[in-house]
Subunit: 291 residues, 2 copies
């Protein structure tokens, strides 16, 4: 019953996100948009759904306010996947159940399609329906989370990481590469719904914990996941000698810590009141995900 | 006398831009900022100077309003150079008088330093002093000019271009790869100075002409320029069989058309009144540039 609710919720929101994303990519009269859309298609839409969930939990009533931002987050996430998959980085040929962008279109076009998604995300966000002050704050926070103080920094640490695999290095990579952007996704929803600063501070804390949980389950799935369910190649992190949660703590240790992150995240969202009850289910769903 | 004025003006503004850029890159406690700054250093700062000139011509009085945006434009320009220079794209090992980013730091780090500059540009712009409505408009216009309807599209056309070299293809590449971003640089200044819509429409027209002129002189310098002055390798476009103005029109034809773009651009800025007189000198300077 519990899991049925969340599955239904996620499926409904995913459809909405997919529909809106599609509307941003029709009739553009230039093939670059088709190429960008190829990589965008078939995502789980976790970040846009978190933005919508954050918006609704904070009392937002007009979903059109948050949709361009939610979709912008997915564009940015997709751009980061395209660049991470490149031969000079993680060299992954399989993503979202199909050939990765550089395998399909060649390296130059892949890089450019990532660059294009990144820029187009900002165009969508700035042209969206929200009030300019809130949108400006969103742009500032998103840029911080995805740039050289966030994802880009995390990816650099990730590709440069060498032995020994320490918990400190692991945390720094997870925090920058994944958790900050997951956190900001929820925060965007709260900002556009004009949540109080106090609420936003708590969301930041809960969002980071949820983001750490998300990366822990990603690391676990790299060990135990199935290629068909994941839509990407498992075992790559291990082969590449990457610093992952299971490499540092062992599989059981990683599972134990994932569960602890889930509990801590739940506690923070509980404290935000009944409007945030749904985050309980989201957290549980992420903890138990198989893809 | 005439040229002394403009040289002094450009030198003064360049110093100001360099100083402000430097202030955004100190004490960040992460080496990625140093790596990004390496590629940022030693630029001509044409786009930031055009933003400042547009701001001042439209009556802007507080230079701190435009500086974060002016610098953001330079970050975005530098990111596009880093990605263009990559082995899978134009494969240029020499830029701004030194090894290009991928030659110096390796391909993965170069891609990431470009990504980092792009994101950091938006952070600077959104955190700047201007009013949020104007900043939001700037972000929208910049994103359009540098994304899949602008620079990224132009670069894709450029790397995919095949015979025959037609004037139409040439114009499409120049417009998207260079002219739109040059135009938007001036427009940003006008937007932040709260220029009227009528003024901005004229600036757009003049800016595109100035941008076309800029790319024409770039193409000419690829044929006649000196490596030491350019800080990049001349002759690369020709070797790569690229569509350039001199390839399509011959060197004399390209020079003739560059001059015509300069005259048309001047006429548009003249019509904007005496506050824009200085654009005469900027245009003349670009027409006669040797680097």
């Amino acid at each position: 019953m519990f899991m049925d609710n969340i599955k239904q919720y996620l499926s409904k929101k995913r459809q909405l996100v997919d529909q809106t994303l599609g509307s941003y990519f029709v009739d553009k009269g230039n093939t670059l948009f088709d190429i960008m859309y190829y990589s965008l298609d078939h995502g789980k839409r976790i970040r846009p759904i978190l933005a919508i969930a954050g918006y609704e939990a904070c009392g937002g009533k007009d979903i059109n306010e948050i949709m361009p931002i939610a979709c912008g987050l997915e564009l940015i996430h997709t751009y980061s996947l395209i660049h991470d998959d490149l031969p000079s980085m993680d060299n992954d040929d399989f993503r979202r159940g199909r050939e990765s962008a550089h395998k399909k279109f060649g390296e130059a076009t892949a890089i450019l399609s990532g660059d294009g998604l990144f820029a187009y995300a900002y165009e969508l966000i700035s042209n969206g329906n929200g009030l300019v002050a809130e949108k400006n704050k969103v742009i500032s926070r998103v840029s911080e989370a995805v740039g050289p103080k966030g994802i880009v920094f995390g990816q650099m640490l990730d590709i440069a990481a060498v032995d020994p695999l320490t918990p400190k290095k692991l945390r720094n990579i997870h925090l920058n590469k994944t958790a900050k952007f997951i956190e900001v996704s929820i925060e965007c929803g709260a900002l556009i719904a004009k949540a109080s600063e106090k609420t936003i501070e708590k969301i930041k804390k809960g969002g980071i914990l949820l983001g750490m949980l998300f990366q822990y389950t990603d690391d676990i799935l790299d060990v135990v996941g199935e290629r068909s369910a994941l839509g990407k190649t498992p075992g790559k992190d291990k082969t590449a000698g990457k610093i992952t949660a299971s490499a540092v703590y062992g599989l059981d240790g990683a599972r134990f810590r994932a569960k602890r992150y889930a509990e801590r995240a739940k506690a923070v969202f509980h404290a935000l009141g009944s409007e945030f009850m749904f985050f309980d289910q989201i957290i549980e769903y992420i903890l138990n995900r198989t893809f």
